[in-house]
């Protein structure tokens, strides 16, 4: 049924954004360039453009979110689209049929785009395979699978600071196993061709066969971030202790938490990233989170421009000057 990547149309244009996997390098660069065009020379966001006037975008969040939902909503509003937020109680949509029924109803209301977050891997692909042909689906996070706009805004942020990807060594630290963000970042960074990509965590948080994704696996933090240009940390969920994957937050911080001392192993001009929200004293200390190497708040701001780019391109209204 869903055997191939359905996110590109016959001409290779973006129709849905479901995963970074399978996007050509040039497509990623085009999205980043389009995002660039939404920021002025001073780096300030353009407040409002009429690109998506008359379009209706539905935020369909089956899983709670504050940051992602807000930035998608802001992005849609700045493109002059009408935005609708549908509160979905997960209990009502345990069955595929009612999920489909909901989609049919929204389609009947002449919506143009669904921005979907769902707790199950593959949910965005499933929805994209079922919607009417005029509707675009943007994956705002599905299970452990993908969170492509997060990865794109991370690439945008890295590009702002590092210009070129080819010479970079990037380390992703934390819960790779359960992270859709990490999977999307890995696909983006390998497509953009960084020189070295590492994942750093205890074995319990790194899936077997992770190296098949094109990463080097490290279990020691200092070795893993040595001479890195970019250090990305991932959020650690409290459930991991209950599932016997980690003994305690305390020990995690001792072994894998970033501190100014540990950061000296990375390059002096290394940047520190985090998809948010941070657990201070778990993934990193406040000195690092608020320190000069941190670009965490920039990531949030860049999220709006990148989501504007993705939404306008998927609806066939790319900004002038961008592909």
């Amino acid at each position: 049924m869903i055997s191939q990547n359905i996110q590109l149309d016959a001409q290779g244009r973006l129709r849905h954004l479901l995963t970074i996997e399978g996007l050509k390098r040039q497509m990623i660069v085009d999205i980043l360039d389009a995002a660039e065009s939404f920021t002025s020379v001073t780096g300030q966001m353009v407040k409002k453009v009429p690109l998506l006037r008359g379009k209706t975008i539905v935020n369909l969040f089956f899983e709670s979110s504050t940051r992602t939902l807000t930035t998608f909503e802001l992005a849609a509003k700045r493109l002059s689209a009408d935005v609708l937020k549908v509160n979905v109680s997960t209990s009502a949509t345990n069955k595929g049929e009612s999920l489909l029924d909901m989609l049919r109803n929204l389609e009947a209301m002449h919506c143009d785009m669904f921005v979907v977050r769902h707790a199950e891997s593959g949910a965005a692909h499933f929805i994209a395979s079922q919607v009417a042909p005029h509707i675009s689906v943007i994956n705002a996070g599905d299970g452990r699978h993908a969170h492509p706009t997060q990865a794109l805004l991370d690439m945008f942020t890295i590009r702002k600071h590092k210009k070129e990807f080819a010479p970079l060594t990037v380390a992703i630290v934390g819960d790779i196993m359960h992270s859709r963000v990490a999977r999307s970042q890995i696909h983006a960074l390998t497509t953009l061709g960084v020189s070295e990509l590492r994942v750093v965590a205890p074995k319990t948080l790194i899936p077997n066969h992770a190296s098949s994704l094109g990463v080097q696996v490290y279990h020691d933090l200092l070795e893993g971030i040595r001479d890195a240009d970019v250090v990305i940390t991932l959020r650690l969920q409290k459930e991991r202790m209950e599932a016997a994957l980690l003994p305690s937050e305390h020990e995690y911080f001792q072994q894998y938490g970033l501190t100014p001392e540990k950061m000296t192993a990375a390059k002096p001009d290394a940047i520190v990233m985090h998809p948010g929200p941070i657990n201070r004293g778990v993934e990193m200390s406040s000195e690092v989170a608020d320190g000069p190497q941190s670009v965490i708040l920039e990531q949030v701001a860049n999220g709006i421009a990148v989501r504007m780019a993705v939404m306008s391109m998927a609806l066939g209204r790319a900004p002038e000057g961008a592909a």
């Binding site: 869903i2 191939q4 990547n5 049929e97 199950e120 891997s121 593959g122 499933f126």
Partner: protein, 425 residues
């Protein structure tokens, strides 16, 4: 009714027959091979020139969906699918609703099957009452009612109960059918823990979910002395463990599902729900090892593991889809591919879907011996055909093989001497 099958190549592996000869059927039984019995006159003649005449297929695992899941199929629809697939005996696991843990349930299913009259249905009884893994089922009673073995399907049984259940089954002279999967390892998983599950972020089911269970059950089989059969192995390691146990003289057999001989985790692609299976599709290496185990005989049977589903069962994100495929109609053509690949000789391949599964079930089906029930499958080994959704007779259209090209097609299925399926009708 008397029937004369002319000029076919008769392959009957159980009796080491592979020769061009005629088959004569009278009163529902094989009356003779080669020459007609005295005074024989055929009411129906089938010209099988260029065709293969073999025993009707015996399928070790077919979910008929009745009773309890009639929205996915029923004994009539699935018997029709069996007949179309050349299958004349199906074995149905006990996880119906209600569970097959009483003689009454066995009688009900067999009566329904008889009423439909398109395939024989053998039944596995529940190993424990209600499949709950706590109390032993009344196995002597189940055996008397006709069950061919006992199984707890995929429902968990604690080790101590499993030991006692095996001992009790051994006393009753019943084979225990085992679906080897360590529940605590597979819980929440929906794909093989490997490259694809990593890429797609799907909760994985590791190889060890199977090997740990196989290792544990082998110990208990040795302890209890029960005859046991492992259903649809999926990993190279488990196949190896079974081969070793057989060398050590343990009374164990194993089968593989036809899908696991042709598909791997890679076929999931981008979340293809028709490749959601239990056990999950494994690696290329596993698939190849299963083929080798089959050619070496440590895995002696191929089954369809037929699980028809309603459309909605697969209309959900991958982890929420129900596992299983509708596969009884592709059992023969896919098995014939193994011959084309020179993995098995044609008689050996036919044995894997006729006499071998019949041996595992301890029934005298799966052969064309004189006096046996005349269950016959006739197929054209040269006929090319494309498998499409509209051809599927089963209620379940959930096949990952839609769009595949096959060579070899069932033309006639005969059950108890009656023609129950003919191509093009």
């Amino acid at each position: 009714m008397s029937l004369h099958i002319k000029n076919g190549r008769v392959i009957d592996p159980a009796n080491a027959v592979d020769t061009l000869q005629d088959v004569f059927i009278e009163n529902g039984r094989i009356a003779s091979l080669g020459e007609p019995p005295a005074g024989f006159s055929a009411q129906l003649e089938i010209d099988a020139t260029g065709q293969i005449v073999c025993p009707g297929l015996v399928d070790l695992c077919v979910r008929l969906r009745e009773p309890g899941y009639e929205h996915k199929g029923n004994i009539a629809t699935e018997s029709r699918a069996a007949a179309k697939g050349g299958v004349t005996t199906v074995c149905c696991p006990p996880d119906t609703i209600p569970v097959i843990d009483t003689p009454g349930m066995i009688e009900y299913i067999q009566e329904r099957a008889l009423e439909v009259g398109l395939t024989h249905v053998e039944v596995l009884g529940a190993l424990t009452q209600g499949l709950k893994g706590k109390q032993l089922s009344e196995m002597y009673g189940l055996k008397k009612a006709g069950c061919v073995g006992v199984s707890n399907a995929y429902h968990e049984v604690k080790q101590q109960v499993m030991r006692r259940a095996m001992e009790y089954a051994a006393s009753a002279g019943l084979t225990v059918f085992i679906n080897a999967e360590e529940e605590s390892f597979s819980a929440g998983g929906c794909a093989h823990e490997g490259q694809v599950s990593v890429r797609l972020g799907l909760p994985g089911i590791p190889e060890s979910a199977e090997t740990i269970a196989v290792a544990r059950e082998l110990q208990l089989i040795e302890l209890s002395g029960v005859r046991a059969h492992f259903c649809h192995l999926s990993t190279a390691k488990a196949a190896h463990m079974i081969a070793e146990a057989q060398r050590d003289g343990l009374p164990v057999t194993a089968d593989v599902s036809i899908a696991h001989l042709f598909l791997t985790e890679m076929d999931i692609g981008f979340f293809d729900a028709n490749c959601r299976m239990k056990p999950p599709l494994r690696t290329q290496r596993d698939m190849e090892a299963l083929r080798v185990a089959l050619s070496q005989g440590s895995i002696s049977a191929i089954c369809s593991d037929h699980q028809p589903h309603d459309v909605d069962a697969k209309l959900a994100p991958f982890p929420s889809c129900q596992p299983g495929i509708s596969s009884i109609e592709t059992l023969l053509p896919l098995t014939l591919r193994l011959v084309e690949m020179e993995l098995l000789s044609l008689p050996d391949a036919i044995a894997c879907i006729t006499s071998q599964p019949a041996n595992i079930l301890g029934i005298d089906a799966g052969q064309l011996a004189i006096g046996n029930a005349a269950d016959v499958c006739i197929f054209d080994p040269q006929r090319h055909w494309d498998f499409s959704r509209s051809q599927i007779a089963s209620f379940g259209k959930n096949s990952p093989f839609i769009g595949w090209e096959f060579t070899g097609c069932v033309t006639h299925t005969i059950l108890d001497g009656k023609l129950v399926y003919q191509l093009g009708e």
